[in-house]
Symmetry: C2
Subunit: 205 residues, 2 copies
């Protein structure tokens, strides 16, 4: 199995490689610190399995997954992320990846995931399964933001005032206030601090 690794932390990359090298059936044929470099490689070589982090500089793991699906549909993908935030997880799973494990899972979980994916199965780590099931049991009434709301949230996070945002988007300050209100309601936060934390947790900023 030809494996390609992507993570912005070299030491983790080295560590995983060291773990995988012990398995005779697996072969790490390349690695990259950025999505861009990974894409370049995948365009030119056949890769059976891509194991990628979500947090990457510039292009993130989600964007990478989407592009890899296009340029190399046969390549299977395992997301190896530290994020266990339900919306982000859902967003990533929607793309139809083959496995999702967390960085606080052990290497055994990684090896199990690789074996499962190799056998054509989908592998989710225990914690991820819990998150999914939990979110089914307690659907949190559409916390998802609309595009416009997300856009405005990003501007809020960039330290613009309502006035600034209104000017920038050529809309009334009132409108911004309304969006802001809706964002607060949907994210179930009521302070700016909580909102920024939400944005961080959901990787919106």
């Amino acid at each position: 199995m030809k494996i390609f690794l992507v993570d912005d932390h070299a030491i983790l990359l080295d560590g995983i490689k060291s773990i995988l090298e012990k398995e005779p059936t697996l072969k790490v044929i390349g690695e990259a610190n950025t999505a861009e470099v990974a894409l370049e490689f995948i365009k030119q070589h056949e890769v059976d399995l891509l194991i990628t982090d979500f947090n990457l500089p510039e292009m993130d793991g989600l964007a990478l997954v989407r592009l890899v699906k296009k340029i190399s549909p046969i390549t299977k993908i395992i997301m190896l992320s530290m994020h266990d935030e339900v919306h982000l997880v859902k967003e990533i799973l929607k793309e139809g990846i083959n496995g999702y494990i967390l960085k606080n899972d052990s290497h055994k979980e990684l090896l199990s995931a690789i074996a499962a994916v190799d056998a054509g199965k989908i592998y989710l780590s225990n914690d991820i399964n819990k998150i999914i099931i939990n979110s089914l049991q307690f659907p949190d009434e559409e916390r998802m933001l609309t595009d416009r709301e997300r856009e405005i949230l990003k501007l809020i996070a960039k330290e613009f005032s309502n006035r600034d945002i209104a000017d920038q988007l050529f809309i009334s300050e009132r409108t911004v206030e309304t969006h802001r209100k809706n964002i607060f309601r949907k994210t179930k936060t009521n302070s700016l601090v909580g909102l920024i934390k939400f944005a961080y947790a959901n990787n919106l900023i």
Copy 2:
């Protein structure tokens, strides 16, 4: 050399262990996901070298370093962190640790650090050296916060209002406002959002 590893991400722990096992002179005698478990071990066993992450649940790496220095002064310490924020780095180096490397350094850097520390030297990764030198060249006029200011910043980040904070610390709301003013001045931020970002970057929350 008897080494103990601390990191909240099991997969990284596994990876590093796998790398270190290749070196015949090194022996990983234990590992932990939390500072608390690590301390318990160090109290009962002799550890030559502690390699720890900064980001840990509950007690952070800095607190761990301080305690280890007390209960086992012979134990050398290498910080393995993803943080390259100048103030945090300085704060940690002040404790007199033996090495500081970043997670985006390669495993070679880690091995070099271990060798250097074993030889009684202090090892800082290239990026850390750059940061230190840069901060000497451009000293940013005491962005450091006092204990009280840090305490208040944390409460702000916990979504408490000035009124709440005043009540909690048994001080006047005016005092909180003054601290807040000073915090904004020192951190060179002028919006709550910027402040929260600062707090995140400096791992205060």
